[in-house]
């Protein structure tokens, strides 16, 4: 054959290559690839686990957020209620105080009126009594003018 091409040697090379391919496949390629696949699976499972945990954490976070919002709303409502109650209580107290003040004023006015009437009545009674005494003295004493003056002085002292 030209170029020293030898069919037998070509077949020997084929056999050699077949042995090499099979040997390298079973000894190196397959186990290394299997390990690479295993590692990929391992990291994929870790990744999936992490993703699941993250999703769970997100869910818990969302729940907490919802609870926080709920609590905020509750607090807001309670605060509004409390403010309303305070407002109501203040208004009640104010109304009560006004009522008390009005009653005090009415009572004071009534008492003042009563006092005034009593003083007036006492003074009228006193005047009547003085007038009776003066009349009595005028009727029974010599100098009625002096007696009158004495009685008048006494009456001033009494008024003071």
């Amino acid at each position: 054959m030209p170029l020293n091409i030898d069919l037998q040697q070509i077949l020997l090379h084929w056999m050699n290559l077949a042995i090499l391919t099979g040997g390298l496949y079973f000894l190196l390629f397959k186990p290394v690839k299997a390990f690479m696949v295993k590692r990929e699976e391992h990291y994929r499972s870790l990744d999936e686990e992490a993703a699941a945990r993250l999703a769970e954490a997100e869910k818990i976070k969302a729940e907490c957020q919802a609870k926080l919002e709920e609590a905020d709303e509750e607090i807001r409502q309670e605060r509004a209620k409390a403010q309303q109650a305070i407002q109501q209580s203040t208004e009640d107290q104010l109304a009560q105080a006004k009522e008390q003040a009005r009653q005090i004023v009415v009572h004071a006015q009534a008492e003042a009126e009563h006092s005034r009437e009593r003083v007036l009545r006492d003074s009228q009674r006193e005047l009547r009594k003085l007038a009776a005494q003066a009349t009595k003295k005028l009727a029974f004493h010599a100098d009625p003018f002096d007696q009158f003056l004495d009685l008048a002085e006494e009456g001033e002292e009494y008024e003071e």
Binding site: Q8, Q9, L12, H13, L20, T21, V32, K33, F35
Partner: protein
């Protein structure tokens, strides 16, 4: 600094001693002219080596067997001692192995996404064979011819028989992909690329042989044997190894993907064309 100087002096001294030794020892004389050496590097008509006493074969055959033995031994050692110690956080060796397997597996997936199981294994083995086989010539492993002359074993693929074997085997792998993917239609698809085994075989042979011839030429003359082999021998060989590995594996995965891809039924094609129109 003193230690560095000492080491430098020792190194230069050793180089000079070796040089003097090489020059004083001389050579046993040339057994063949440069023309004969080059011709034999291509054709291997004269310097044949005995294969376990069974028959005479080209030195490339011995190289191929040695490379296969080395690769299988290394793979067995790795399988026994390294792979059981693999960790999820890889060490250096694990990273290299995973990178190599991942590279060829990825190449197979890229070239033939629908059918890549066997293809990945094949191009991994072919890639390892071409790469290690090409670097094998750097070792300068010696053998004795049937005529009793010592020779340096060449890269396996610089033997035309090895190149043809790898090219045709790759073609058969592509054909098997075509049959597995498309049945008889796959055979037709593969046969359309009838020039593929020849082109792959002779591309490999030519690339590896050119490296071998340059190396032979350089080493034939003593005056060219200093410094120059560092460039010619190591860098060119490394470059060859990488390029040829990449080219063959890429071609195989590409053609494999092409012939094993299931084509759409004709009715559907017509329908699609009608929709386009």
């Amino acid at each position: 600094m003193k230690q560095h100087k000492k080491a430098l002096v020792v190194w230069v001294g050793a180089v000079l001693v070796l040089l003097a030794g090489a020059l004083l020892a001389g050579s046993s004389g040339r057994t063949e002219s440069v023309q004969e050496t080059m011709r034999d590097a291509v054709l291997h008509e004269v310097n044949q080596v005995g294969l376990f006493g069974l028959r005479e074969v080209n030195p490339g055959m011995i190289s191929a067997l040695l490379v296969t033995a080395f690769l299988l031994l290394a793979a067995a050692c790795i399988r026994l001692f390294a792979i059981p110690r693999f960790r999820y956080r890889p060490g250096r060796l694990q990273m290299v192995l995973e990178e190599a397997v991942g590279l060829f597996d990825g190449m197979a997936r890229g070239g033939s996404p629908h059918r890549c199981g066997f293809l990945g294994a094949y191009i991994f083995a072919a890639g390892a064979y071409i790469f290690v086989g090409t670097l094998f010539e750097l070792l300068g492993v010696q053998a004795v011819t049937v005529h009793g002359h010592p020779i340096t074993l060449p890269a396996p693929l610089s033997d035309v028989n090895a190149a043809i074997a790898l090219g045709t085997l790759s073609y058969l792998v592509i054909l098997s992909g075509g049959i597995a993917g498309n049945g008889v239609k796959g055979v037709g698809k593969t046969l359309k690329e009838f020039s593929l085994p020849i082109s792959m075989s002779f591309r490999l042979f030519g690339a590896l042989l050119s490296g071998l011839l340059v190396t032979e030429l350089v080493y034939y003359y003593v005056n060219l044997s200093y410094v120059l082999p560092v460039l010619v021998g190591v860098l060119f060989t490394l470059l060859h190894a990488l390029i040829q590995t990449y080219v063959l594996t890429m071609l195989v995965s590409m053609y494999y993907g092409e012939v094993s891809e299931q084509s759409a039924p004709k009715g559907k094609k017509k329908k699609v064309n009608a929709e386009i129109n």
